[in-house]
Structure formats: structure tokens, C-alpha cells
């Protein structure tokens, strides 16, 4: 073997990856080759020099990352809230319709006089007929019947006017009704998942992953290396209410415990606020 070929083994020796036979042969070669001894010595010194000088990153690195993460989290939250509000409004709308239908002796058909024009205004003539004959008198308050029909007879487009004035009335009422009755927000934690508190993401874990626990504890340490005050212990799977999650603060430590019965694993990983 030439000296050049021994370089791979010298490098392997520095990393401790040579097989025993290779080490033996390398030792014999080094004993008789001062040049390779010098090479090994220099490589060792270079490795030490590279590894020993660790620079501290500038403070802006953490600041910028956290700022961007926070901005994105807030954006996500805003989006979630807007979805939630839309959902609540829609739910309240249906509740109101159902309630109205149940309370009224004629059931849901009692709304027909109000809603019917919306579907039947095909022609100005028909619209005029419908308004005159079937309109609910309470809906036309403040507007003279004559003026409505004169507008409606002028153009088919004008038939949309009554719909636009009638429709928002119940919708607005429902939204304000919905905001009063915000349901308790429950965030589901599926089995084998990581729940990222601020990021609102659920990440599946592999339960049979051998290195799961050490890594999770490593992540835990990373998140809470600065301070830890209260310790929360979360066991098993299930649901965690918003109130329970809100009790966990960024300064707190969260312990991760697998469910002993079904071996399912649940983790709450809180990012900094």
C-alpha cells in the first residue's frame, strides 16, 4: 500500500471508524513512515482547530426567527378565528331558522311570504304581483307599497332590491346572537401526536420509533432551557380544552407521559410566545 492509500485509514483513525485489522496495519506503517506520522499529526491539529473555535451567533438570529414565527402564528390564529366565527354564524343561522320553524304554528312554511319573492321574481310583472299579494306588512315598514311596485315595474334588475334589503336583517341578528354564545373551544389531540401550542399544528409521531423519547425530551429542553416554573403533566390521549391549554404558560415545563394502557403518546410542545 502506498502512503496515499493510508490517508483514508489515517482519517478513519481520527474518527475511530477503522476496523481492527486496518488499525493494526496502520500502526505498523506509521512506525516506519515519519511522513505519514506527520500527516496524521497535522490532520489532528487541524481538526482540533476547526472544532475548538465556536462562534456565538448574533442576537438578531433568534430575534428575527421569533418575530417571524410570532407573526405567522398570529396570522394563523386570525384565520382560525375568522373560520370559527363564520362557523358559529352559520350554526346560529340554522338554529334560528329551526327555532322559528318550531315556534310558529305553521312551521317553516310560515316564512314563505317573506322569502318567496326571492325565488319568484322572474319578471317585473310577477314581482309586482307577488309584492302586492303576498308581502309581509311588517317587512315593508317605512316604505310605501306604491313606490316599491313602481320601482319593480321599471326594470327586472330592480327586483333584486327587496331581497337585498330583507336578507341582511336576520343575518346580522344571527351573528350578534352567535357571538354571545361562543362554544367552549376544544382542541382535539389525536393519538400519537405532537401538538404545537402556538403554531396550531398537529404533528403525527411514530409510536414505535425507538428514539422517540430522547428526542422529545431534547425538544422539551430546547423549548424550556431558559426558565421553568410550573410543571404540567399530561397523560394519555383525549381532548384538551382551550382553558387547559391556556393554563400552560411559556415559562412552564410540560412533562410528556405516554399512556401506560394503550401505549399511545401525546406531547404538548409549547413554542415561546
Amino acid at each position: 500500500m502506498s502512503c496515499e492509500e493510508y490517508i483514508v485509514w489515517i482519517s478513519g483513525h481520527l474518527d475511530g471508524t477503522n476496523e481492527e485489522a486496518q488499525e493494526q496495519q496502520l500502526r505498523e506503517h506509521l512506525a516506519s513512515c515519519p511522513h505519514c506520522r506527520e500527516i496524521m499529526n497535522q490532520m489532528e491539529l487541524n481538526d482540533a482547530a476547526i472544532g475548538s473555535t465556536l462562534l456565538e451567533p448574533p442576537a438578531r438570529v433568534t430575534q428575527t426567527v421569533m418575530k417571524k414565527v410570532r407573526a405567522e402564528v398570529h396570522q394563523k390564529r386570525r384565520r382560525l378565528w375568522s373560520y370559527a366565527l363564520s362557523g358559529v354564524a352559520a350554526a346560529a343561522f340554522f338554529c334560528l331558522i329551526l327555532t322559528g320553524a318550531l315556534r310558529h304554528p305553521k312551521g317553516i312554511t310560515s316564512l314563505e311570504p317573506t322569502l318567496a319573492p326571492a325565488y319568484e321574481f322572474d319578471t317585473p310583472a310577477k314581482a309586482q304581483y307577488d309584492l302586492r299579494s303576498g308581502a309581509d306588512p311588517t317587512c315593508g315598514s317605512g316604505v310605501e307599497e306604491g313606490s316599491q311596485s313602481s320601482v319593480l315595474t321599471e326594470s327586472p334588475l330592480a327586483t333584486e332590491a327587496p331581497i337585498a334589503t330583507q336578507a341582511p336583517v336576520p343575518t346580522e341578528a344571527l351573528i350578534s346572537e352567535g357571538s354571545k354564545t361562543t362554544p367552549s373551544e376544544v382542541i382535539p389531540l389525536t393519538p400519537n401526536c405532537v401538538f404545537i401550542y402556538n403554531a396550531m399544528d398537529v404533528i403525527p409521531l411514530t409510536p414505535d420509533s425507538g428514539n422517540l423519547l430522547p428526542i422529545v425530551s431534547e425538544m422539551n429542553e430546547a423549548a424550556y432551557s431558559y426558565h421553568s416554573t410550573t410543571t404540567h403533566t399530561i397523560v394519555g390521549t383525549g381532548y384538551l380544552s382551550r382553558t387547559e391549554i391556556d393554563e400552560i404558560e411559556a415559562d412552564d415545563k410540560v412533562e410528556f407521559i405516554s399512556d401506560p394502557e394503550n401505549q399511545e403518546f401525546m406531547v404538548i410542545y409549547c413554542t415561546m410566545p
Binding site: I7, Q42, I50, L54, L55, P57, T62, V65
Partner: protein, 181 residues
């Protein structure tokens, strides 16, 4: 983040050769980690995954710049003043500190003369202490290739450093490159 930022930053710094780019790529790597955390399925250690993101960020930057990064141990501090990269051993005498800084500069210069794959492999092994298996996964090469490339990287680095020292101590001297017999 505090736990990982120093090794990630040093990985980026050794690969890119200047602090500004290293800080940018460290940020980039952490933001990607946060964004794609749900794609991390514990198939490798979290650190290996993070280093992979950082390495890819650096390689992408080098590819996009298509240039050798500026090599400098002198950098601008946060207050805008020039400062020399630390740390050096505070127990050293001023003349020893100067020599140490000079050596560090030579080392970084020599490192930057390696091609980017060799620079990545030596940094991941020596700075970040990754195993051959992890490096192989990270760079998508075989473990045997890691061993041979690492040996070549160390040898090239050694030759580069010798060349620089020879130039520094004797500018006229052109011989002695530490070649093999």
C-alpha cells in the same frame, strides 16, 4: 432554539465563510424547521434533520451566488464597528493572540479553498460531530464514500494550510507543499 443555534450557526459559518451569510442561513434553517416540523417523523435525530436543512440552505446560497464567499475574520459588529472574530483564549499573551488569530484566518481561508462538498463533509464531521451514517443520509451518499471523501477533504485542507503557512513565513518560497512521497 438557543440550544441548537450555535452549532447550526457554526456549520453555516464554516461552509459560507462569513458571518453575515451564516446568520442569514441560520435564520433560514430555523424558519424552515418551524415551517416543516410536521414533515419530521423522527427517522433521524432532530439535530441531523436541522443540520440537513442548514446544509441545504448553505448549498442553495452558494449555488445561487455562484461565487466563493468573502473570506474574512474581520466583521462588522452590531454597533457598526469592525471587530475580529472571537473567541481566542483569554489566557494568551497579546502576541500569542495575534498568532492564534492568524492561524484561524489561515484555517478558514484554507477551508474556503475546498470545494463545497468537501467543506460540507468536514464541517459536519468535525464541527457538528455527525457520524458517517448521518452524514451519508444527509448528503445522500454511501457511508464508504463519506470515509473516502472525508479523507480527501482532510488531506486537501492540510495541504492548503501548509501552502499558506509557507507563503506567510517565507513569501519567496514556493516549494514544500507537504506532498506525499
Amino acid at each position: 432554539m438557543l440550544q441548537y443555534q450555535t452549532p447550526v450557526y457554526n456549520l453555516c459559518y464554516r461552509m459560507l465563510g462569513n458571518q453575515e451569510d451564516a446568520a442569514d442561513m441560520t435564520q433560514e434553517a430555523f424558519l424552515k424547521a418551524w415551517k416543516y416540523l410536521n414533515s419530521f417523523h423522527f427517522e433521524s435525530a432532530f439535530t441531523t434533520w436541522l443540520y440537513r436543512l442548514a446544509t441545504n440552505c448553505c448549498l442553495d446560497l452558494m449555488r445561487s451566488q455562484k461565487r466563493r464567499p468573502t473570506i474574512s475574520m474581520i466583521t462588522e459588529g452590531e454597533d457598526g464597528e469592525e471587530q475580529t472574530l472571537e473567541p481566542v483564549d483569554p489566557s494568551l499573551q497579546p502576541d500569542q493572540i495575534l498568532i492564534k488569530k492568524e492561524e484561524q484566518q489561515q484555517l478558514q481561508d484554507a477551508l474556503m479553498e475546498l470545494d463545497k462538498e468537501q467543506r460540507a463533509i468536514i464541517t459536519l464531521r468535525v464541527v457538528n460531530d455527525l457520524s458517517y451514517a448521518d452524514i451519508a443520509k444527509l448528503l445522500k451518499i454511501k457511508e464508504g464514500t463519506v470515509k473516502s471523501r472525508l479523507a480527501r477533504a482532510r488531506e486537501n485542507l492540510r495541504k492548503n494550510i501548509l501552502q499558506k503557512r509557507n507563503k506567510f513565513h517565507s513569501p519567496a518560497s514556493k516549494n514544500e507543499e507537504g506532498g506525499l512521497p
